[in-house]
């Protein structure tokens, strides 16, 4: 009987699919399976593409193709003069998805906002541990528990967030994936039924697409949400065909089995660009590949030595050999696409003779260093081993001997954090929210020593600039402070700024309106396909 039922249901689905043959469909060949569909506890870009950017919205959204924020589920907001109270005015008449497993009885309101944060914050919330071994990595990682004092409902469409101390990047944080707004009504329904885990596998949001089906490790299906507050999107069906191998993704795109693919292998890019049926968009990634010197260990506690080591490295040669066109030399810690990027800063020019002389002047002879190479490939550093070999050769030319060291990835990072770690440590960072604070303070503040400040560098002047920039609400003022911070950084050289990656996005010519996003997310709400 059960079999008969599902047969009938499925025949109906097939019939629907056949009837909808004229529907506009976009196939995105995504790079990995999502862990699940709750963007709160997940950390991968592929998780976010599949959940937060399709199914959900946030109070504020990042502008398409940019890192500035614009109104999302909050139509407007005010920040008190002391920078402690944020009042959000919520958008009225926003609907949640109606699916086979949930029918909302009310519109989005302040309760949903409060629930969305409290579930990650308050241990007594039923959803705080609703999946086994849950950890709210981004909520914790962005220091939300430290900053949040309270979230209160003023009325159905007004929410007041009070902070413990001013934190200017807060608005950008609220545009991040973990801050996606969930339906409290749906959460309550699942809690009453005792099926909390469904919250992660059968999602309900307010976003442009609603979840239809997930076949584990194979296909995710979405359909356009007809009652989307910003208007129904142009395509009808969005499909993620999970294809882990980059070479196979390229073949699928060429064969017309996908419309868009992320992360092609650098070696395939020229071929894709030459294909008359395809378009390859490109953009600088919001990331940095760098190499941290431990500034507490002699002789690298000496600025002159660090500068000399930087001068000895031919960065252009590394970019050409390792990044194969998918990277550009990094002058500053933040990429040029980010606001407050200081174009006046001059990089340490490649000059082996000057480097050698500087090392001699500093009294450094027969220097032997550990040179750390990441065991994994990242867009900001596709082959750290090869980079290490090139740096090793450059340093040998100025009389510095480098021993290349590498460990398994998690162990590598743990060992790198040690305050007394010797040598130069290759690492990188991908921006979370487009705020410069996310680079400067996360990677080089004094409090990040032993966490993510791999240089163990604590410079009074730099620290004051970045901490001030964190509390000043005015963006023009913040920009000035960050520009100065970049000057100090270059002068003090706690690290070699190596490269920012370039990201390529090949797609079929029938795709209209896709914009690449500096945050590395893939959004399809403004995409159409030619008939």
């Amino acid at each position: 009987m059960k079999l008969m039922k599902s047969l009938l249901a499925a025949t109906a689905i097939i019939a629907l699919a056949a009837g909808a043959a004229q529907a506009k469909q976009l196939v995105f060949c995504s790079e990995a399976s999502p862990a699940h569909f709750d963007p709160g506890p997940t950390t991968g870009g592929n998780d976010f593409d599949a959940s937060s950017r399709t199914i959900f919205n946030r109070l504020v959204e990042f502008k398409h193709g940019g890192t500035e924020v614009e109104p999302g589920l909050a139509e407007s907001w005010e920040i008190s003069d002391d920078g402690l109270v944020y009042t959000f005015h919520l958008r009225p008449n926003v609907k949640f998805h109606t699916t086979s497993y949930f029918t909302p009885t009310r519109d989005f309101n302040a309760d949903d906002v409060i629930f969305s944060f409290e579930r990650q914050w308050k241990e007594d919330n039923a959803y705080y541990t609703y999946l086994s071994g849950l950890s709210w990595d981004y909520f914790q990682g962005m220091d939300m528990p430290k900053y949040l004092k309270s979230i209160e409902k003023v009325d159905d469409l007004t929410v007041k967030i009070t902070l413990n101390e001013p934190n200017s990047p807060m608005i950008a944080n609220l545009g991040m994936d973990f801050a996606s707004i969930m339906s409290k009504e749906y959460a309550d329904q699942l809690e009453a039924a005792g099926t909390l885990a469904d919250f992660a596998s059968a999602p309900v949001g307010t976003g442009p697409f609603q979840f239809v089906d997930y076949q584990t490790d194979a296909v995710i299906r979405y359909s356009a949400f007809p009652d989307y507050w910003a208007g129904k999107v142009a395509i009808d069906d969005l499909i993620f065909a999970i294809t882990t191998d980059p070479a196979v993704r390229v073949q699928k795109l060429k064969a017309g089995e996908c419309d868009i693919i992320p992360y092609p292998a650098p070696a395939d890019i020229a071929d894709l660009q030459a294909d008359p049926n395809l378009v390859v968009q490109e953009q600088e990634g919001l990331n940095i590949g760098y190499m941290s010197y431990n500034t507490t260990v002699a002789p690298m506690d000496n600025v002159a030595v660090r500068k000399a080591l930087n001068q000895a490295i031919n960065k252009d040669a590394i970019i050409e050999a390792v990044y194969q066109g998918a990277g550009q030399v990094a002058v500053n810690l933040i990429p040029p696409t980010m606001w407050s990027y200081n174009t006046a800063v001059k990089d340490d020019a490649y000059d082996p003779a000057a480097a050698k002389a500087a090392l001699e002047a500093a009294g450094v002879k027969d220097l032997t260093l550990d040179l750390w190479a990441m065991p994994v490939s990242r867009p900001y550093n596709p082959n750290a081993q090869r980079v290490a070999e090139l740096i090793q050769a450059d340093w040998a030319a100025v009389g510095v001997k480098a021993n290349i060291v590498s460990y398994e990835w998690t162990e590598y990072r743990e060992r790198g954090k040690a305050k007394d770690r010797p040598g130069a440590f290759q690492i990188g960072w991908t921006g979370d929210n487009g705020d410069p604070d996310n680079f400067f303070a996360t990677l080089f503040s004094c409090s990040a020593i032993g966490v993510s400040n791999y240089s163990s560098w604590c410079d009074e002047g730099f620290e004051k600039l970045i901490q001030d920039a964190k509390t000043v609400p005015d963006q023009a003022e913040r920009t000035k402070l960050y520009e100065q911070a970049q000057v100090v950084f270059k002068e003090q050289a706690p690290a070699l700024t190596l490269a920012h990656s370039k990201v390529f996005m090949p797609m079929s010519k029938r795709v209209i309106g896709f914009t690449m996003d500096p945050l590395g997310i893939h959004r399809f709400d403004n995409v159409d396909v030619a008939e």
Binding site: I14, S201, V248
Partner: protein
């Protein structure tokens, strides 16, 4: 016969215990911390790390972790994936039919082509066909699967456009799985176009996965046949004036099949190993791809229970092969 089967079953018990120890130890021997691997680029604070360690039970002594793992497995609880938070058994059961379907077709292909090729090569020993078959078999046996798969995709899917690049069925076909076997499900739904699409998607992965077993089976059949063809009873049969086809098919083949069936049974383990690469290339949503992704995420729970489940399946297949072996060769069950 029953005694024979019971004897074989008894032998499985120590093997299973050995496998639980190996699968439990294997992932823990790899460097890398599952909690840190999950945390992403922000990492976790030391306090949070301790809390998570306790939640996952990683703070217990290793022997206690092992015993609790075995205890849970004995109660049918294979644990919950650290990454997806879903029960391991749920994911295994959802993904396993895809692997079985692929492995079955790969094996079917290997047997259907390998045995006749081997017989023919043995009968025509030294001929150009023999030389060619054995040359191709050697090449097939030495083929790196990843490269071979990509080559076939580029040629047949990219250049000729005959087969789809990857996946199990064209994206337009969408239905809830009934059995999880795509060919069976499409037929149950009575959708012929979907069935054809599923077959087309199966061809390349089955060829890639079947290549090595095909080579092994062809070579094994040839050498077994050659050995049997030299036996006295075959000579007697020929001397009696029996037709060559009767001699080969009735007298020689049945005896030559014994080592071949053993080889086929052993190839099932090889198929599971080959499935890891084949599924990764063809985005085939089976347990091979699942295992490789879980290893890279240091998902201890999936790796240890997944390995155990796969091992149980391989052992079950080997048991069946042993029984078949006894059916083919009565001398074995008499022992």
């Amino acid at each position: 016969m029953l005694r024979y089967i019971l004897h074989k079953l008894a032998l499985i018990v120590p093997t299973v215990i050995g496998i639980t120890i190996c699968s439990f130890a294997f992932i823990r021997l790899l460097p890398g911390d599952p909690i840190l691997a999950m945390a992403g680029q922000h990492g976790v604070s030391p306090e949070r790390y301790e809390i998570l360690k306790e939640q996952f039970g990683f703070n217990m002594p290793i022997w206690q972790q092992y015993l609790s793992y075995v205890w849970n497995v004995l109660h049918g609880d294979f644990g919950i994936s650290l990454a997806t938070k879903r029960p391991v058994l749920t994911d295994f059961l959802a993904l396993f039919p895809a692997t079985i379907e692929l492995a079955l077709f790969a094996m079917l292909l290997a047997v259907a082509l390998g045995i006749p090729a081997g017989i023919f090569a043995a009968v025509k020993r030294g001929s150009w066909f023999d030389q060619l078959t054995m040359g191709v078999a050697l090449t097939g046996y030495s083929m790196p699967i990843f490269w071979w798969g990509l080559l076939l995709i580029i040629f047949f899917s990219g250049y000729l456009g005959w087969t789809p690049v990857s996946g199990r069925i064209a994206i337009n076909f969408f239905f809830k799985p009934i059995t999880g076997f795509m060919l069976v499900d499409t037929l149950l739904y009575g959708n012929w176009a979907a069935f054809v699409s599923a077959v087309r998607h199966l061809i390349l992965p089955a060829v890639v996965l079947g290549t090595i077993p095909l080579a092994v089976i062809a070579r094994q059949t040839r050498s077994a046949m050659l050995e049997v063809l030299g036996e006295d009873y075959v000579r007697t049969a020929r001397a009696k004036g029996l037709s060559p086809s009767r001699v080969i098919n009735i007298h020689a083949l049945r005896n030559a099949m014994i080592p071949v069936v053993t080889t086929i049974g052993l190839q099932v383990g090889m198929l599971m190993a080959g499935a890891i690469l084949t599924e990764t290339i063809f985005s085939w949503p089976g347990i091979g791809k699942w295992m490789i992704e879980s290893i890279s995420k240091r998902d201890y729970v999936v790796v240890q229970s997944g390995l155990l489940l796969i091992a149980l399946v391989v052992m079950a297949v080997n048991l069946i092969v042993d029984v078949l072996y006894a059916v083919i060769n009565p001398r074995i069950r008499a022992r």
